[in-house]
Point group: C2
Chain length 251, copies 2
């Protein structure tokens, strides 16, 4: 039996990025798409608790099963595995995101949260992102690298509860893949303040991305030098160094 | 000058839990409340990118500044620090959440994501949760422990980029505080499937919490034995063990 590959994203079921990821994944197995019915960028690890979740079967327009979901990327993974897939998935892939999810963006990203949810459930999972926000971004130069990572993940027994965060530099000058750690970086927020027609204040969240990391082993360094970055990611947030210190100091 | 304490939550600005947290925090400094205008449970680290964010000044009803925010808990922290607070906060506290945020719930929780966002920004931050979902939950037995943790955080120079995830057992038989690691656990989803009046299928996300961890140093173990659990949490998701393995194996 061919491997079963669940595909999701956060840009929505009709985004060009998920089409390209599906095209690549079909070389490796039977694909099954369950993705949000509308853009869900920045949804992080949100789950839909206070409203019901709708599913629509769009498969008649495709050569493989495609479902849209009114919920978040994490909801998509949960519903796909528990209600829609014919069997347990061999691989969960999320993306290709329109825009980078390197360094701290891993915690804001719906694309990566879907991959992390896959890892929480114990499935081999990968999030793919292209460092280009454009709807018309060129996904082609990254395709061989995506294929390589999918092949590796399917052929190796990856540890449960670890997923891959793969970011692809923009342009066609890609130098290869580097295994990296998450760079130290954050967003310097700039809240764009405006007045509505009734005089009320509202804000648009925007900002400048600030990389504070000088290390050559970080994902930001790899991307800056035109390498695809691959960060193995897990979800135990415990700060073990601080735990030890607190055990001595906190009385 | 008294310490400035920013207070937020995910249950909304009028929830009993944030009222109790504010009451306790006022013993230690000047409080400033910026919290969602509606419940935001399960919002994880979501940020509002595709719509503007509204702020309402409710301070005239209180003895201290209180703002409601149409965005997520993470939005609240960003807007508070960048637009509303008179100076940089000395401490950010989030909660008291109505319901546990122990173990894997840290990644789904809006309450904890607000604390993690504080840590990303470099501020000392703490999320507090009571293991009781009820709106009428009794927050009183946990109050002395919350006070103790706030006092410790204000008096010690905590490392930047680490926050505390504090969970309080239900009831009045609390044995003390234990420093813990995040337990290995996950939700076994049960999607409650229903038909809408037009025959469409929809789902409610629900589930059973499954603790797979036998360790006596985990937060779930502490809570089960009526201890308050304190997990120091950070946001570098890199799996360093897997990174090393991939550096050898991935060619």
């Amino acid at each position: 039996m061919k491997p079963l590959i669940l595909i999701t994203n956060d840009d929505g079921v009709f985004a060009p990025g998920i089409k390209e990821l599906t095209r690549i994944a079909r070389e490796f197995g039977d694909v099954f798409v369950v993705a949000p019915d509308s853009p869900q960028s920045g949804m992080g690890h949100a789950v839909t608790l206070n409203s019901p979740i709708q599913i629509n079967d769009l498969s008649s327009d495709f050569e493989f099963p495609v479902y849209s979901c009114s919920g978040t990327p994490v909801d998509c993974v949960k519903i796909a595995v528990h209600k829609l897939l014919p069997r347990k998935p061999d691989l969960i892939v999320s993306g290709i995101n329109h825009g980078a999810n390197s360094s701290i963006n891993v915690i804001y990203s719906g694309t990566m949260s879907a991959a992390i949810e896959g890892a929480v459930m114990g499935y081999t999972s990968i999030g793919f992102s292209l460092c280009d926000h454009s709807y018309k971004a060129d996904f082609k130069p990254g395709a061989p690298y995506i294929a390589k990572v999918i092949k590796y993940a399917l052929e190796h027994n990856l540890p449960k509860h670890t997923c891959f965060n793969v970011n692809i530099p923009k342009g066609d000058n890609i130098q290869g893949i580097k295994i990296c750690r998450q760079a130290k970086a954050h967003w310097d927020e700039e809240l764009d303040e405006r007045k509505d027609p009734r005089g009320g204040t509202y804000y648009w969240l925007t900002g400048v991305f600030n990389v504070m990391d000088k290390g050559e082993d970080s994902d930001e360094y790899a991307l800056k030098h035109n390498y695809v970055s691959l960060v193995p990611a897990q979800f135990d947030l415990t700060d073990y160094k601080m735990l030890e210190k607190l055990n001595q100091e906190f009385k």
